[in-house]
Symmetry: C2
Amino acid sequence: MLDVSLNRHTSQALYRQIAEQIKTQIGNGRLPANTRLPTVRQLAQELGVTRLTIQNAYGELQADGWIEATVGRGTFVSPAVQPMSLQPTIGQFLTPDSALSDMLEINHIIGVRSMAMAHPDPTLYPTDEFYDYLNRLRPIAAQLFNYGPIQGDAELRVEVAKLVQEAGITAVPEQILITAGAMQAISLVAQALAQPGDLVLVEQPTFLGTLNIIKAQHLRSQAIPLHPDGPDLEALEQAMREQRPRFFYTIPNFHNPTGYCASPEKRAALLALARQYDCLIVEDNIYGNLAYDGPPPPPLKAQDGDGRVIYMSGFTKDIMPGLRIGYAIVPPHLRTRLLTLRRSTDMCSPELTQRALAHFLRDGGLKRHLRRVLPVYKERRDTLLTALQTFMPAPVTWSQPGGGFSSWLRLPRYFAPGELYRLALQNGFAFTPGEAYLMDALDAEHLRLCFGNQSTAGIRAGVQLLSELIRQRMQAGSRPSTWLPIV
Amino acid sequence: MLDVSLNRHTSQALYRQIAEQIKTQIGNGRLPANTRLPTVRQLAQELGVTRLTIQNAYGELQADGWIEATVGRGTFVSPAVQPMSLQPTIGQFLTPDSALSDMLEINHIIGVRSMAMAHPDPTLYPTDEFYDYLNRLRPIAAQLFNYGPIQGDAELRVEVAKLVQEAGITAVPEQILITAGAMQAISLVAQALAQPGDLVLVEQPTFLGTLNIIKAQHLRSQAIPLHPDGPDLEALEQAMREQRPRFFYTIPNFHNPTGYCASPEKRAALLALARQYDCLIVEDNIYGNLAYDGPPPPPLKAQDGDGRVIYMSGFTKDIMPGLRIGYAIVPPHLRTRLLTLRRSTDMCSPELTQRALAHFLRDGGLKRHLRRVLPVYKERRDTLLTALQTFMPAPVTWSQPGGGFSSWLRLPRYFAPGELYRLALQNGFAFTPGEAYLMDALDAEHLRLCFGNQSTAGIRAGVQLLSELIRQRMQAGSRPSTWLPIV
């Protein structure tokens, strides 16, 4: 019942091992409040230890308030337990990497209403349909459990070619590289295009995963300010002209974190600049299918006459993250280099899920799925915007996303959203502090709210709480650090 | 029936697109010899093109000998088709990366008897049992299709901790990092330990994947000669003393490509050197469970008193490669860095397969599976050694692997195994040329034969053919390049 594993070859006492593992499971939400634990006798028998060992373990847990014993009823995980109390690291740093780490941790904690992470709602995943496709492959599974092709499953590449064609992109399967999520596509393409020390351009703010990649690969980056209609062209031109960057990374459709969509004029100008200064564009269109107000704008790649755009997307946001399937459309001269780099990291993606996804796409599964989920996400987007309008105090402003999963809020200047972040977490609510999306944190007066994975009621309650915290914070006026201890 | 995808927005004629795609599918073995193709009428209807388009495509394929039409019977993939003829790149280069690319390609070609790749036999994969575990997770699949924990599924880490404990390694789940195959473990650990330009030590020969990683990460490497009882200690000590390498990468158990196993004395000396010169050891134990002559020697990590060994293994060789699941046991000071690096490449592995594997392991699936497959692989190993003894001409020698999947052959000096490789491929037989496992190709007089994925009859036939080619080559004497055009 309890998943406890004992190591008899270590100096740590068995009762401590048991207590620690139960604490961890309570802390990460695997043992929610009020879960009944096995009796001392049962657990002793199951683990092959004495009852005294279990009594010691339970005794320690009880003393620390993790569990409660009621005579005649049994032993239960304490109803008062705050999973968060096990996570002293959360909120400690606001770098892109720490913020990502936090949101993934928070994702696994019960009792926190998280609008921190831009992922779809698991209750909407097409798991049953996908399982049917997995099961249909059972007769040929041995073949699919071997090493798969480095470039990706051939059938999936055919389906991706069809899919992007609907967005106006002409690509043959040979140009498509399947990756472990769009994230790996960005990582491999960055590695292929830039050497340590090379300069790349990113929008400010931008996807924090890309900031992580830039750091891990020892690249230099320069921020191009992002406006609601797209990147600042003057800054972009100057950087391209003076710095000779290796590439410009951009998310023209339903940008993360802002939700902005580049205007047709900006897109045309951007392509013209790339041509003029012979600069490559890395286009991330991961949210491309999540358009709530009509069809999404065509990607830059659809207008890319001279092969300057390297396009990437994936199925994390519009189907489900756990597939870990993304793709890049790459120019012929980069293909060999990218295959070599893939062989030098993790070889290939599992072919079974790739093939199942190929058949799901072939049979129109994505379109069916989008017809089902887009109205839900649209309603949540609308709920978020209405709730912000209703509850937020005046100086706060926010973006109006036409797609994707997030809105970008601007707080009064010098607001220190890091403190707000920690305070909200203590109140059981999570957002992402704006710092995580910035190359430099000078401009730290933003936060991101994601609406994909909260019910409309949850969104309203979350925004109301956040608004209240901001209001209190504003009333506290010039005493910024007195009302909350900084961890 | 035929998987053909047409692009109407390109200048390439439709019939050419159809012909090219059919050629590719014949070439990569998806359409084996004698496959019946759809009729002109059927295919025209299916693709929404005129019959003339299909007639043109079939006409071109027929003219080039790819397909044959028989009046009244239909159109068939030519029985004479040699899939290899489509692969002019195979055998062109013998670098680690090209060799790996070749073996994966060859793996997907029908009609080549490949002893090139060290992978298990797909007909022995526990696919049915694994599918049962996948299906049992269906009720909680939505949760498992979300982002998984960066460090890996918690239940899988518990099972891995139990598994390595049987090999004498004490590790708590917290120290275990699940990776996309052991390959990614090597890649992440190398990235965590060494910066571009840093020196690392490898055995010569060594796993070609590691050579690829070293190159991709811009590291410098120095070769330590490998003897049948382990690495050359004198060379190792000198390198550790004079060069201060970041780590020494070693495969003490059933080494790839040689099959060698380090002696107990060498293991103890190696650990002592690491202690003396404060050098980290990266231990790759991917073949550890594939022991044919009694239990495998305990890994270095089991004797690692002071935490100098970073241990990695995975389930590619003893279960199936398509899981893409490996792991590393990492010292506490590296854990955060490795998690950051994983978040900066592909985020996390799919949790569904991790959890299914955890339950498979928990229920003793690996032990059951090994009981079933070890006798088969042992017989193949014995067959290989007997066939070599029977057929190989005198100056050729080979290793006697006690486990793993490969034997390492030594040819007469100045033999140019690259030519032998291409000649063997033309005769429908594949091995891996020794160059691929060497940092520098000066010592290129070896080749690797893998016995895991061939029947005993196939192994005998392959060795007989190879012996005959070597004999011919030896008789040709000093005319090395006259009898085979170098591509």
